[in-house]
């Protein structure tokens, strides 16, 4: 149970959240035309005759888009509908050349599924399962530009007809944190599957946020839908704002109006987009230009076989290797990082040491040198080599950092760096023992004090020995020898 409550004047209120995520399908071509889908191209350069709705032009479904929707459905354990159909949603707007959007109202391609999220990444007990109602495929619209001409608006149809998956959740979320965790997890899954790049800044993922409030345990209240919210933070702001606004309205004796709203990120508020009175009648009906989509066994088998290891399975595998819940969650969140880490493990690195290195050490080292994680220099093989030297006691953990920094600067192999810089620490017990004997002999007074109970002096002896070894002694070996000599 979420402990997120809205404290009203008349008591506590619970917020109920459902999300409709529009995810742009990763594909070279649009949903029903052969036109390309590159982001940021010159206006109206990615437009086919079909996208521009020229007379007599007809849509032909893009098999790859259908495949990506099916794979996405399989990744959230959803029902895959072998029979689905495209419908027309009719309305007039200048960014919609056909005068209708081809979508799937009556028979979506993917039915019910679910996504389990960790509301708190550090806490295994914060897991919550959120239902997915459906996933359907639809066309994106074009874009209007109002700032190009004093009296007219310009239309850019590049995005028009690009395939979107609309992923509709059930009203299962109860706090902004849960909504945030859901979006992040969904984004992670989409990126693992490769069906959407999850790039919210470029608009590849946008959310319609449905919010209502109720007394805990009572019937759902009237909801509002805030359209086209394009970041996790904004989604959470919308929820907080709407929940408070609705509670205030109800407590003031007003009714919440079922309506579509828009979020203003500058002011952090939502405003009605249009009222119910002039709500569209979309006149949905099956698109007569298209046949129903019927999926065959072979196609479904290929979709399933092509799925990679998904975040939850990977996280479980990491935890089974002894990696902490938190580290496993962080390492698996982004597919690139997880694949990098898998290569680190494949190169023979110890799982726990590798997870600490990858999560706690490496990011700082990269940041300090302003090197991106996906920089070609940052190969898992180099990290594996360094970790192996630590594991064998050849260098200390501290020296490992140093080696990596030298590596970034020089491009030399870790082995060469250790050699050139004389960093290799010795585990030669004979050499170390000799120095220990010198240190103890030179500090007989302190040895006596230690034996009299001043245990804190142990560190002093370690330090003196390391100094005598010019820092190249394996600290563990130094410790062992010192203990043996002092405690005998």
């Amino acid at each position: 149970m979420s402990d997120y409550v809205i404290k009203g004047q008349t008591g506590d209120w619970e917020v109920v959240i459902g999300l409709e995520i529009h995810a742009q399908v990763t594909s070279n071509a649009k949903l029903f035309s052969g036109a390309a889908t590159a982001f940021g191209a010159e206006p109206n350069t990615q437009v086919s005759l079909v996208d521009a709705a020229m007379p007599g032009m007809l849509p032909v479904p893009n098999r790859e888009c259908i495949r990506q929707a099916v794979r996405t459905g399989m990744a959230i354990d959803a029902q895959i509908n072998r029979f689905s159909r495209f419908d027309r949603k009719n309305y007039f707007y200048a960014d919609l050349p056909q005068g209708y959007q081809i979508s799937q109202l009556y028979h979506p391609i993917v039915g019910e599924g679910e996504i389990t999220v960790l509301v708190d990444e550090k806490d295994e007990n914060s897991a919550k399962t959120i239902g997915v109602e459906r996933i359907h495929l639809e066309q994106d619209a074009g874009k209007l530009m109002h700032d190009q001409h004093p009296t007219m608006s310009y239309v850019d149809l590049n995005r028009c007809g690009v395939a979107l998956m609309e992923i509709v959740s059930k009203p299962d979320m109860r706090s902004p944190a849960e909504a945030g965790a859901y979006i992040r997890k969904l984004r992670s899954i989409l990126r693992y599957v490769g069906s959407c790049d999850g790039n919210m800044e470029e608009g590849s993922m946008r959310a319609d946020v449905n919010v209502s409030v109720r007394r805990p345990g009572e019937e759902f209240g009237t909801r509002t839908e805030t359209k086209n919210v394009n970041s996790v933070r904004f989604v959470q702001q919308v929820i907080e704002y709407e929940a408070k606004r609705q509670v205030a309205a109800i407590e003031a004796g007003e009714e919440v109006v079922q309506e579509t709203r828009l979020f203003n990120p500058d002011k952090g508020v939502t405003k009605p987009l249009r009222s119910k009175e002039d709500a569209h009648d979309y006149r949905y009906f099956p698109d007569p230009d298209l046949l129903p989509v019927e999926l065959e066994d072979e196609f479904l088998a290929e979709c399933r076989a092509s799925l990679p290891e998904l975040p939850d399975a990977k996280r479980k595998r990491y935890e089974d290797l002894g990696i902490s819940v938190y580290n496993a969650a962080v390492l698996t969140a982004e597919v690139e990082n997880a694949r990098w880490f898998d290569r680190l493990l494949d190169a023979g690195a110890d799982a726990v040491a590798a997870s600490n290195w990858a999560n706690s050490v490496l990011p700082g080292l990269l940041n300090a040198k302003e090197v991106a994680f996906d920089d070609p220099r940052n190969t898992p093989e180099v990290s594996a080599e360094i970790l192996a030297m630590v594991d064998k006691g050849e260098i200390s953990k501290g020296q490992a950092k140093e080696v990596f920094e030298y590596y970034l600067d020089s491009g030399d192999s870790p082995a060469k760096i250790v050699e050139d810089k004389g960093l290799k620490q010795t585990s030669d017990t004979g050499a170390i023992e000799a120095k220990v004997d010198e240190v103890l002999a030179a500090n007989a007074d302190k040895v006596q004090q230690y034996k009299d109970g001043k245990q804190a002096l142990f560190g002093f002896f370690v330090g003196q020995t390391m100094k005598a070894m010019q820092g190249k002694a394996n600290p563990q070996v130094v410790n062992q020898i010192l203990r043996a000599k002092l405690d005998e």
């Binding site: 020229m54 007379p55 007599g56 032009m57 007039f92 707007y93 050349p97 009648d281 006149r283 009906f285």
Partner: protein, 491 residues
């Protein structure tokens, strides 16, 4: 005999035999087209395209690389997008529209060697049964009632095509049929016209009226000519999702008027009250001709046919209301801007100005039947009835190989006679519409003339993909029916 009096088969064979050149054919037809402005059949004349194809044909004859339609110039209904040639769909809305692409069907004909004489007038967006809804004025039929000079309709919506073939200003023409638009005008003008099985002809590049019903087909003077053209027009097209991926049969080679062993179904429900006696008499005569050709008549039942017309007038306008939404003045075609107005003002002004009354009427009907609260009562119900009509035909074809009915409940009427009464106009398609809803091949062939000397057609419906039986039965009727004497030039 003038070259323009010849059929496609005669022109083809004569050209191949060296009796005349393709250039001579094209020149004679170009001249005939120029001399027929009074019929208002051609919206655009393209004599240069006819000559260009003729030259290629003459060269091909020299090098023995002839194509099936080499040397044949054809008329093209204005609903087919033709690259660089005005394609207006009979509407003011597209009055300036030059497509940068060629429809699959017209491209197929071109690839088969055919030339193009021009673009043929039609009811606006193919909505009409008399060619009176065209933005460019009505087409006049070359036919007249005996003893009268009153202008007669060639039928619609492929009225320009029908008028042109019947006036011998095209040896053949393309038509499209959504609810009878090939068959009814063919019947009204004493020619043949076939609508193949839905999906045989690609719809790509044909301005859409009602997607689930629209189907292209040929209109020509003989059954053989229809077979020749149809072979060239059909074929799978990956650009049309509803296109059928099936072989195109050699219909011309398969022509045979021997119907031994075939059964012809006579639907009892098609004896409609109020049908003129001469129509029913011709129907009975048609049965006898088919019997004479070896077929056995059987009575069949198509019980849901009586709902076909209302069903059609829900589904077709519903699809049209959505298909025609793209004509909004934003990207091409007519744009009417209101001074100081916004986007919606532009939509309203453009669509008010660009569409004619019949198109507006159907957009309104279609919008109504799809709207919230009415969708189930109208559109869903109509889809269910459509399924029942298809089922009727499926059952019927377990008992027979073809079905014979009249094509239309009357002969051609005078211009203006029904234009104030849309329902009377819609009733013209009562026999044609069931086959459209079922997606079945259907053809009109001339059966004779009525008391006024106007032609009447007989209507053959075949089973799915069985155009051959339809054509063969058509041939049997053609061989037995009194030959139709096409009107002498008065225009």
């Amino acid at each position: 005999m003038s070259l323009t009096d010849k059929t496609i088969a005669e022109l083809r064979d004569g050209f191949r035999a060296g009796d005349f050149s393709a250039r001579e054919i094209a020149e004679e037809f170009n001249a005939a087209v120029d001399a027929a402005d009074a019929l208002n059949a051609y919206l655009v004349k393209t004599p240069e395209l006819a000559l260009e194809a003729a030259e290629a044909a003459d060269k091909a004859r020299g090098s023995d690389s002839l194509k099936p339609l080499s040397g044949i110039p054809l008329g093209m209904k204005d609903l087919f997008a033709t690259e660089g040639v005005l394609t207006s769909a009979g509407s003011k809305m597209l009055g300036n529209f030059l497509p940068p692409y060629e429809s699959t069907v017209s491209a197929n004909l071109k690839a088969a060697g055919a030339g193009m004489l021009g673009k043929l007038n039609m009811d606006e967006f193919a909505m009409g049964s008399s060619n009176e809804t065209c933005a460019h004025g009505p087409v006049i039929s070359p036919w007249r009632r005996e003893g009268s000079n009153a202008a007669i309709t060639p039928g619609g919506s492929s009225g320009g095509s029908a008028s042109a073939v019947s006036a011998r200003i095209a040896p053949g023409a393309t038509g499209t049929d959504t609810g009878g638009s090939i068959r009814q005008p063919a019947a009204f003008t004493g020619i043949c016209g076939i609508k193949p099985t839905y999906g045989r002809c690609s719809r790509w590049g044909i301005v859409s009226f009602a997607s689930s019903l629209d189907q292209a087909g040929p209109m020509a003077r003989t059954v053989r000519d229809c077979a020749i053209m149809l072979e060239a027009m059909c074929g799978f097209d990956p650009k049309d999702s509803t296109s059928l991926d099936v072989e195109v049969p050699q219909w011309e080679a398969g022509l045979s008027s021997d119907l031994k062993g075939k059964k012809v179904g006579i639907p009892r429900e098609y004896r409609i009250d109020g049908t003129p006696g001469e129509i029913n008499a011709l129907w009975d005569q048609g049965v006898e001709w088919l019997r004479d050709a070896g077929a056995e008549p059987v009575e069949i039942s198509l019980p849901h046919s009586k709902y076909a017309l209302p069903t059609y007038y829900i589904i077709a306008p519903a699809e049209a209301s959505s298909n025609l939404a793209r004509y909004d003045g934003v990207r091409y075609g007519l744009r009417e801007v209101v001074e100081g107005g916004g986007l919606h003002d532009m939509y309203k002004a453009t669509r008010a100005e660009g569409f004619g009354d019949e198109v507006k009427r159907r957009i309104m009907i279609g919008t109504y039947v799809l709207s919230a609260g009415f969708y189930d009562a109208y559109f869903t119900k109509a889809q269910k009835v459509r399924a029942l009509i298809k089922q009727d035909f499926r059952k019927a074809f377990e008992q027979c190989d073809m079905i014979l009915t009249p094509t239309a409940p009357s002969a051609a009427f005078a211009l203006g006679e029904k234009s104030d009464d849309p329902i009377a106009m819609y009733l013209n398609d009562v026999f044609a519409v069931p086959a459209s809803l079922a997606g079945l091949p259907a053809m009109s062939v001339p059966g004779g003339v009525n008391g006024d000397g106007l032609p009447l057609g007989l209507h053959l419906i075949g089973n799915e993909l069985d155009e051959q039986t339809v054509l063969n039965a058509g041939l049997a009727i053609e061989e037995r029916a009194p030959s139709i004497e096409l009107p002498k030039k008065w225009w």
